[in-house]
């Protein structure tokens, strides 16, 4: 098994200064160095910290056991690093280069150290290479995952932004839906409406779909399920602004609209809601 020998670890620790200098130079040359997103101090502490965890990990364990406990400190460090790089908007190549650009300086160091022992030199180069490849891959993997998390969060935020639940009157909420509805968006919107009913104690919720051009089977079913869920919670729902095409879809699908109040537009729905809540609207003299 290829492992870093004690001699290699010692030489890395002894030559920390020059190693860091030539690593920095290499990073600069490859374009993977810092820019305004990372401060010089932060960058230097990152490279220094990586060398430390690398030597610490190598001192404890065998190079093939990247998943083992002895590498947990190195893995944690790299996970933190790639997460922060992903959040700062760096690409994956940049992040991987952080590690791969250390290869050359390390090889040079090994060459100077093992110049007279070709066999040892070869085995140590091999070991260092395998180790850095493993760590590099781990970084890319974590980076990828962090990016996916960022994207998923943004999608969620977008969903929430596009679905305002507004209070129309005391005890009357309205959800004006606009644009094409897909099944996932409908679900999120409906859940936020139900949540608002609990928070505000509103007894009537109007779902206005004037701004929705068409609905598919799933979305129509979601709408109906939401109306039923609102009833189970103890409030009432009114659907307003049903376009002719949507009405046709619903009838074609054979969906049961029994017991569901629909109104031509939001104004009519509000009138019904006010009447049910016991309000009377009169025109001033």
């Amino acid at each position: 098994m290829s492992a870093l020998s004690q001699r290699t670890i010692d030489v890395i620790r002894k030559n920390e200064g020059p190693l860091l200098a030539s690593w920095h130079a290499n990073l600069d040359a490859s374009g993977a160095a810092r820019d305004s997103r990372i401060s010089q101090a932060e960058f230097e502490s990152q490279t220094k910290e990586f060398l430390r965890v690398l030597a610490a990990g190598a001192a404890m364990g065998d190079v093939n056991g990247m998943a083992g406990n002895e590498w947990s400190e190195a893995r944690t460090f790299l996970e933190r690093l790639s997460r922060s790089r992903a959040l700062q908007g760096f690409d994956s190549q940049h992040t991987a280069n952080f590690i791969f650009s250390l290869k050359h300086p390390l090889f040079e160091l090994l060459q100077a150290e093992y110049g007279k022992d070709p066999a040892d030199f070869a085995s140590q180069v091999w070991a260092v290479s395998e180790l850095l490849d493993g760590l590099g891959l781990h970084t890319v993997r974590t980076f990828q995952k962090s990016r996916e998390e960022v994207i998923a969060r943004q999608q969620e935020e977008l969903l929430e932004l596009s679905t305002p639940v507004v209070k129309l009157w005391d005890g009357v909420l309205a959800l004006p839906m606009i644009g094409t509805l897909d099944s996932q968006r409908t679900q999120v919107v409906m859940e936020s409406l139900l949540q608002r009913i609990v928070e505000t104690g509103a007894e009537i919720a109007i779902i206005d779909i004037t701004g929705v051009p068409t609905v598919d089977t799933l979305v129509a079913q979601h709408l109906l399920k939401t109306v039923t869920a609102i009833r189970l919670m103890g409030a009432d729902a009114i659907i307003s602004g049903v376009r002719p095409q949507i009405a046709q879809t619903i009838v074609h699908l054979g969906l049961d609209l029994q017991g569901i109040v629909t109104k031509a537009n939001l104004a009519d729905a509000l009138a019904v809601a006010l009447k049910r809540s016991g309000f009377v609207v009169t025109k001033g003299a």
Partner: protein
């Protein structure tokens, strides 16, 4: 034996379910409630489930049964405080509890019961 308490408030009975009920406890509640309705001549039953974070088909069926039983015994049942996530799940499960009267909270449920009694 473990039991869910039933409180009497004038002509109404109030049950607040706060524990994760096993099936036997639900059955006991169903029996206890019908006993109490006939024993007290109560005109209405409020079941507060705002503390329940799930209602499965067994509990759902218990709610429907209590509602049906009480109707036969001339009392209305109102289920109050169902959580949004529970309501969504019940609908997806296929249990829409038609015929069960609902309200947002105990206060509104009480008002609803009084209104319904008056209009009879």
């Amino acid at each position: 034996m473990e039991r869910i308490p039933i409180l009497r408030m004038g002509e109404f009975l109030l049950v607040t379910i706060q524990v994760d009920m096993h099936d036997q406890l639900a059955m006991t509640l169903q029996d206890d409630l019908s006993e109490r309705i006939s024993g007290t001549g109560a005109r209405g039953v409020l079941i507060d489930i705002s503390a329940l974070d799930i209602v499965d088909s067994f509990i759902g069926r218990m709610i429907a049964t209590i509602s049906g039983l009480s109707k036969i015994m001339d009392a209305e049942t109102v289920v109050v405080g169902m959580q949004p996530a529970v309501a969504i799940t019940l609908v997806e499960l296929g249990l829409t509890l038609p015929g069960v009267i609902t309200a947002l909270d105990v206060e509104r449920g009480m008002r609803l019961l009084r209104d319904r009694l008056q209009s009879r």
